[in-house]
Symmetry: C3
Subunit: 450 residues, 3 copies
């Protein structure tokens, strides 16, 4: 912290007596006009970036609230660990793999690259000394900070689906590969200017596909390899509900995610240097909010009609599905179209959560309907409001990303299963991972209902 | 997300080898000076707006923490549903009802309007293409985003008072009318330039009356029509305390609201395009914090003196009452006056919570003392520091808004009671709304104390 | 709230019919260039300041989660009360004691002062009318708001260590002295331009020593005077673990602190008026995140190796220790050095938490390892990346601050113990402070495990 040049008014009289304090900067030290856009965009990245960081807490609360109390400590551990590992991996390899900026390892800018560059992330020097920053964009540090949060978000999606039955370390090893390689490689295909962007005209503004469906595909592959929790699906075909242990925290998590999503979608405008850009970011904030609201309302009304009573967890997931749905294109829709797009996201969740159960795929928190199914819907819906998108380009890109992530994940999960095993013993799972694997209960003072 | 023009330094060597990458924007693309104020104010709205959004989570946590565990799922459902419905209603009709900008349905700008315009909210086109934005203010999207959060806040206030004994759907129907019509119509009288503003010189900077007392009046009307919870007031005149089930969450909710209030009051400056405006916003942040702090300390000391022990829920409500009190005028007070105004808010809560009990009005979370009584105090207190305010103008405006909102709410609650009934059966209420109406417990894993 | 000059597009047609609405500001009212830096820096302080405010909630959740359920209401009460008292004391005396700006009571700028000025904090007048603000810095209100949050953070650190066994009022009286005098006086020695800054060249960017170790020293003194909780250390030398009652909230608290720390370190750059400054703030955000991540990962791996299972509370404290470690110099390290500095912070926590137990010092939440030990490490580590720092200057400053705060705190705790007693009776402590001292349980609905 530098020493301030400020004169508190309460001390102004005293200060007048001291002619030369030596603190004041040169009064002419106003920012050159060409720097203002750089400052504004960089600061916008820092603000929207910390909002996306906050989503890590949202996922942690949502998942801790939706698992049974005997697996809460484990779920919390996974969530803080996965974020931390993502932060390290994205620095170590992910950032430059995702944004090779011409230095493709396979492919080139002209043809649309396939595999980015291998190098650690490096920021500008302190005080920009000796650097000649590109004043038309933003500081490298702010961009890195913002982008790594997207990588971490992708990882957060996986942990919920696989909760309550996967051991800590194989899960974390998967996360290391996901955040260091799987996510950045496929993200480079679109956001790094790779082949999906240049050859297929794929449009995905903030990542319905690049982030959310990727988390969803990785989770789906894991759920298949891992199998359902013991007792979830009985032999007679009946489904045993396993209600979450703390709906207040699940609701808090949803509100946190909703808040963070303003940064997620808004920051993806990437520029806040003109009136036009800030007006677009404003549209995005308003549309994002509308889609979430209508996703929630759709689930509210549908569960009342279908089941005769409102289902809070569906309403929460409806809001999240609305958010995922608008993420591929939060800018071009009108508020009315945002309402439609988000509302359909909510409908998708209500209908596909039971579908997964029928397929005997055990998704503890509903992350696959929310992030994968609504993510696909949102990516397709781009064509409704953005004439630059083509249905073919969107569909083939969804398919290419999906096949890549699903197949690689399936292989990786299978390898991890073979080498170290994914699941705790049956007894450990029944006891709960908190006591069995970590030896620490989340709520030790309270008596558990049998 | 556009493709970035950035050159990560770690790849600079590689990049030098690629002469024409084609990503860079024109280097002369600096924001025109006249756009800078527009960008700054718009971004300020987005930041302060997301803070006010966050208050929705604060109310949800506060209320979930202050109700008994058997009604927590319901309280969470109401909170996320009311925010979502508010977001839709404010778009559908509220925004233009509140800011008719000349297009009054009844009245006109010269005389001060009475009823605004009926039209959905529409933002500027993408990229401002074809639009000629008013560069002296902010983007429509950012303004809409900010303003809708105030509408939602008003609705959040109502849910706490009526907790534990009102059915979901009549409550939500009331919210639809409140956010679509009652709130925006009375808000137009002041903030839309209507008759309270032009004829009475009413001053209410951020809504001690326009937001908080409105929520309070609607809640009071509801509490009267609805009656108290079963067992709250015994026939012998004794009052049965029904302690909140989770004070950690209630405290978290209070901190969230305190944080969000910086946006609530700060953003209400409406401009951040000059040194003067940002200095004013800074004053508002500091005053808002001081009022909350002193409200809390006042309740801390008073409950120690009066009851021989500190009452945490009073301290929390004291902080909130301090915040409500400073909301009508967070700019003109000195820090010392902010301390006084907020402190009196805290005192009001300590004395009026028992008063409501004596009147057999059952306010589950203390929202009426906090939002209505402290809101009235704060609105009157404007005259202490702002010479533009008159006691008469403040009082008559408080009365007009109060009569309008209270009477309309009373009628509406009565109609809803007649048509669909407001209360669950006695048995359902005793069981708790979570199991009886929603079939879903908030904390199913834990054994309840009888 | 002023009346907006905005024309919603949906009403544009109507508006055209109204020739003179009188709302519009002069279109030439663009911010003068020299004001832009002032606006940007002030707004940066408000944003980073509200993030640091949010840390108060983080400490409250962390501590409420780590104490036993019978002391939760008390811990929450202490946390909201200490923040409120800090806000008042910092206004009343702390701000000008810390930033005397020439008006030293003892010492002077030339020699480096020792004791600052006594006066309440005063902001610029509304609308800067009559003021001639220093446009090269920021508004006084924004600076005051930002700085008081640091004072409050120092106080928050103390409450965790002393939890579960100190009475409310002696604790709060200590906080009043700490925030009004101890913190600001020693902070003036560095950040107010006092003798540590001018004579020893002490470098402490955002307060590893000035904030965190100060809280740690005050807590250590308190823990020694107060003694351990009943039953913590058995006579046979065994240590009785007393697990936290709610690890979800402890994790939430950690995420909140992590988020708030971006403001804590980032805002300490003190200027955002140039490309260079915003690039530096960006570096700080990225480094802060990296240090936290690596602190968490270090504790994750170490506890697995040392104990055969991961310890979530250690991982949380590891992240926090990483944050404390980077706080003395978040700017000059590369991301790699931030990883090293933060990682060592995590290692320190894992090894020193058991050390305190051996010394029979009862630190309920681990605040001494996190804030004091990692704070010392971080302050020393400045020499690794900042050539302006000297090992001697850092060590002597750590020692001077440590001796001052520890000795004064020790005296103060001893006086409070003599005058009013610090501890509740043995029976009250066994019952829990919630029922014994406050008469209010945090979780009354739930059955406690014996």
């Amino acid at each position: 912290m530098k020493i301030k040049s400020l004169l508190p008014l309460g001390l102004a009289a005293a200060a007048v007596l001291l002619p030369a304090m030596g603190y004041a900067q040169d009064v002419d030290d106003t920012p050159p006009m060409e720097e203002v856009g750089f400052i504004l965009t960089s600061f916008m990245f820092l603000v929207t970036g910390f909002l996306v960081f906050w989503m890590a807490a949202g996922f942690a609360m949502l998942e801790a609230g939706l698992v049974r109390s005997k697996n809460v400590t484990m779920q919390l551990t996974k969530n803080i660990a996965l974020f931390s590992l993502a932060a390290i991996m994205y620095w170590l390899v992910g950032y430059n793999l995702m944004y090779p900026l011409g230095a493709w390892s396979i492919g080139a800018d002209e043809t649309g690259g396939y595999l980015g560059a291998f190098a650690i992330a490096i920021m500008e020097p302190v005080g920009l000394s000796g650097a000649e920053p590109d004043l038309t964009y933003a500081s490298v540090g702010s961009d890195f900070f913002f982008q790594l949060m997207f990588c971490a978000t992708t990882a957060s999606i996986v942990s919920g689906t696989l909760a309550e039955r996967i051991k800590l370390w194989p899960f974390l090893i998967f996360i290391i590969i996901l955040t260091g390689f799987i996510y950045p490689i496929q993200a480079s295909w679109k956001w790094g200017g790779g082949f999906l962007d240049s050859q297929f005209g794929f449009l995905d503004f903030a990542g319905s596909t690049v982030v959310h469906s990727v988390g969803g595909w990785a989770a789906l592959a894991g759920a298949i390899v891992l199998g359902p929790r013991i007792g979830k699906f009985a032999k007679d075909g009946s489904i045993h509900p396993m209600p979450g242990s703390n709906l207040t925290l699940a609701t808090l998590g949803t509100f946190i995610l909703w808040l963070g999503w303003f940064g997620f979608n808004g920051g993806s405008q990437l520029y806040m240097d003109t009136a036009s850009n800030v007006a677009d970011i404003s549209r995005i904030f308003a549309n994002t909010n509308m889609a979430a609201a209508c996703g929630a309302v759709a689930a509210l009304i549908l569960t009342q009609i279908m089941y005769g009573k409102v289902d809070l967890t569906m309403v929460l997931n409806g809001a999240l599905a609305g958010l995922v749905s608008i993420t591929a294109e939060p800018l071009t829709p009108s508020l009315f179209m945002a309402l439609i797009i988000g509302g359909i996201g909510g409908v998708i969740v209500v209908f596909t959560v039971p579908l997964l159960d029928k397929l005997k795929i055990d998704d503890v928190v509903g992350a696959i309907p929310v992030h994968l199914f609504a993510g696909i819907w949102g990516t397709i819906a781009v064509v409704l409001t953005n004439s630059d998108a083509t249905l073919g380009g969107q569909l083939i890109s969804i398919a290419i990303v999906g096949v890549f992530v699903f197949v690689v994940s399936l292989i990786l999960w299978t390898i991890l299963k073979g080498i170290m095993g994914l699941r705790p013993t049956e007894e450990e799972e029944m006891t709960g991972l908190d006591v069995a694997e970590l030896g620490m209960e989340a709520y030790p003072d309270f008596t558990k209902a049998s």
